[in-house]
Amino acid sequence: MNYDLVVIGGGPAGLAAAIEARENGVESILVLERDRELGGILQQCIHNGFGLHTFKEELTGPEYAERFIRKLKNLSIEYKLDTMVLDVTEDKLISAVNTLDGFFQIKAKAVVLAMGCLERTRGAINIPGTRASGVYTAGTAQRFVNMEGYMVGKDVVIVGSGDIGLVMARRMTLEGANVHAVVELMPYSGGLARNIVQCLNDYDIPLRLSHTVTEVRGEDRVEEVVIAKVDEDKRPIPGTEQVIACDTLLLSVGLIPENELSKKASVEINPLTGGPVVNESMETSVPGIFACGNVVHVHDLVDWVTEESCRAGKHAAKYVKGELSASDEPIRTEAEDGVRYIVPHHIQKDNIDGKLTLMFRVDNVYENARIVIKNNGETIKSVKKRHLAPAEMESVKLKAKDLEKIQDGTLTVNVTVEEVVAQ
């Protein structure tokens, strides 16, 4: 099989990239999705709040996905479901498998990697105790409850205040479970402010900041968990332990971009994001292999995934048509004080049409701070921000007039602190 563009992953990133590539003139496109339907993780996010930026209205996850799925079908873009990609090579030879085609290979001119991310597990954060059942990642519990129609427990403690955990606190409550607490290691929440209000405060679920779960108890099924306050080094403080009787522990302790295939394709991975190093076109270190969405860096809102993925799709189309300049990395972005990482990692100015979006996350909670963008030490742009938090992805758009000022070298982003709220 031969295609101009193969998109790996039919979630919000893959869908947007495929649609954008078709609208930019690529005829031969194939989307490969491992699940039984398109839409990715949105299909289990039945709460609303999606699409405020993209559609200026509040949609549920499946509704948001459906708009793209319909468009994909209207554009007659080919896709295969229940199909797992086993290998991608640097030469863009893709090996995949499903029940209908068996084991097959596709030669592509360009590839978009859109495999998303996976949840950090109990094992990865080393919660001690027994290996009883009843410990779920929040996303797995969400799938059971929202898609399979089964409850996973009755008395729940949630560790980590990531958005999925917060949404599941509300969801489990609505389904009749008692959510005893959401326990967060950091002194601030890992989720969006609106989710704290709408999912915890509205249901009187306590958020225990600077706390952690120190032990899981129960021989076969979880019977109780021990929580404790932590010191500045995130170590449990002896004597602050509290035992909570429960049958379920949900984990919302972070997402990790899923880049096994990227590594097989020899794509360079950035250790800070866990995703591919990308340029302004969302092209990876391997020419013609693009990446977008949570496989690159974990987003807070799907709207930003869509925006980023459109950029990937558009530039993948340019690549297929031979219109994309090869990148020799003349401008590199660097995260400075207060900033954890920046996407893109480097910039080829002549590939930018119109404006350039820098996406990044800050490393702490800041009030009344400024985001300052500098090029070789010279300030290009400075934006005042009333509130900055690690849970929310920040972005700055550089317009044509800003871009004109930028010379080869480094482009830095920092947070100029006026007041730090929490360490």
């Binding site: 090996s95 990642t137 797995t140 898609m147 089964y150 409850m151 120190t214 076969d220």
Partner: protein, 483 residues
């Protein structure tokens, strides 16, 4: 009336069951758990030891060296992963080095082949990630890595293929002597048997005491382990032991036969017999000791931690005997390390004891030493992949994304003898859920497959042990106007 009843379906019980399956005997293997291989066998270092650290003349020394020699053929017959990658015992100072020389002499006395003390240069050449502080190492080429629970499961399956009955969920709570042997109460079963082989692991003393005078006590020692992501699977080429100490073999670092990396165990005890919890203290100890040998190891790549209990006794040797006054009752107890390595030899020895004491056994001419080959879709070459999907399209559906395990692989493992009935049972047999997401994506799918194949309700599927339920019921029904 059974000829032989084996209590305990760990590596020892399954090895013995398969050994008896070679003879014209009516044999039954009973276990209190809902799966075979669900005690110490599922939580250990999975090392096939060379045999240099056992005291010469002990049962441990004898069965370790003999067991090691049997492994290659056994794993080949049963299609179980085994790699003879060799081991290093590292030395960091002169005292350690003197101990290496002692171990080498001891190993040679035990009959271990090929032992060598390697220079610092040679050691670091073979293991560049090892601490630069190492001054020498004892190399044992015959040491290897194996899938410990895969092997026990394969032994049980092959034993069952050859006629051995397996009774799970059957804790033995009473044993009485009868004119012809013994009568056992095992869960809902009453079993009459001529021979009883007690391989009850951590509970072997309790089983003995049901019918015999107490003469040994099992002291469970907890050993914690960290298992790391596949990306660290090639961090070492060999098994690396800490410098020798009084506390047994100490913390070991090794690539696993499945492609992960393992560091452990700690040693803490005696503990309660069900205390398999991990602790913060244990994890810190593993990190400290691991860093001594592998200073730059990426500890953050841990995917899971677990604790195994070792059935120790103060005498520090295996017990393989017939207690006085109880003919045809054989205790196979206190099988701590190197029990996994020794198991095939222990099985030979137990059958030999039966032969010597009670006459020759008739060989079963129909015995088939191999089990049906395991397909392992992801490891198959392209043509074989195509053939498998053609044979059963379910080999084309990947269920476990981290380890690339297909529905075909899973269904096959459900329908074998001693087949999988639980989520962890599937994981131990085909690795679905053993990868970095630890079953986050595949658990719902695996449950669906188990429920369908066993024709039960999905809410009855458990994670591992009997009460380890996963679902508490259906979600609220939709309001009438939406139906």
């Amino acid at each position: 009336m059974y000829d032989v009843t084996i209590i305990g379906a760990g590596i020892v019980g399954t090895s013995i069951a398969r050994e008896f399956a070679k003879y014209e005997l009516k044999t039954v293997l009973v276990d209190k758990e809902n799966d075979v291989s669900n005690g110490t066998t599922k939580a250990n270092s999975a090392i096939v030891h060379a045999g240099f650290d056992c005291k010469p003349g002990t049962l441990k020394a004898e069965t370790n060296v003999r067991g090691n020699a049997l492994y290659e053929q056994l794993c080949k017959e049963l299609d179980v992963p085994f790699k003879k990658i060799g081991s290093f015992v590292t030395a960091f100072n002169e005292q350690d080095l003197a101990h290496l020389k002692f171990l080498k002499r001891q190993g040679e006395a035990n009959g271990v082949q090929g032992l060598e003390i390697l220079s610092r240069e040679e050691v670091l050449n073979r293991e560049p990630n090892l601490s630069q502080e190492a001054i020498a190492a004892l190399y044992a080429p015959t040491a290897g890595i194996v899938g410990s629970f895969e092997l026990a499961i394969a032994l049980a399956e092959n034993a069952a293929d050859n006629g051995v009955e397996i009774l799970l969920n059957s804790p033995v709570t009473a044993i009485e002597k009868t004119p012809h042997g013994y009568r056992l109460t095992a869960g809902e079963n009453v079993i009459e048997s001529r021979y009883v082989i007690n391989c009850a692991g951590l509970y072997a003393d309790k089983i003995n005491n049901l019918v015999n005078e107490p003469y040994f006590e099992i002291l469970p020692f907890a050993g914690e382990y960290n298992l790391f992501d596949r990306s660290t699977g090639d961090y070492l080429n060999t098994i690396v032991f800490q410098p020798p100490s009084d506390k047994g073999k100490g913390v070991v670092a090794l690539p696993t036969v499945e492609g992960n990396f393992l560091i452990g165990p700690t040693s803490d005890g005696p503990k309660e017999r069900n205390n398999v919890k991990t602790t913060r203290k244990g994890m810190q100890e593993l990190r400290e000791k691991g860093m001594k040998v592998l200073p730059d190891f990426p500890f953050h790549k841990v995917i899971t931690s677990f604790t195994g209990l070792r059935a120790k006794t103060p005498d520090n040797d295996f017990i393989i005997d017939e207690p006085a006054g109880s003919p045809r009752f054989i205790n196979v107890a206190a099988i701590d390390s190197p029990g996994l390595t020794a198991a095939p030899a222990i099985a030979e020895k137990v059958v030999q004891m039966v032969k010597e004491n009670h006459g020759l056994l008739v060989e079963d001419m129909d015995f088939i030493p191999s089990r049906r080959p395991v397909n392992r879709f992801i490891e198959a070459p392209a043509e074989e992949k195509a053939r498998l999907i053609n044979y059963d399209p379910r080999y084309g559906r990947i269920i476990c994304r981290c380890e690339n395990i297909t529905e075909g692989d899973i269904v096959d493992m459900i329908h074998r003898n001693a087949g999988a009935e639980t989520i962890d049972g599937v994981k131990r047999r085909v690795r679905a859920g053993a990868g970095r997401c630890q079953g986050g994506f595949c658990a719902p799918r695996v449950m669906e497959i188990l429920a369908r194949e066993m024709n039960v309700d999905i809410t009855s599927i458990v994670k591992d042990k009997k009460e380890s339920y996963l679902l508490t019921g259906e979600t609220k029904a939709p309001a009438k106007e939406f139906v």
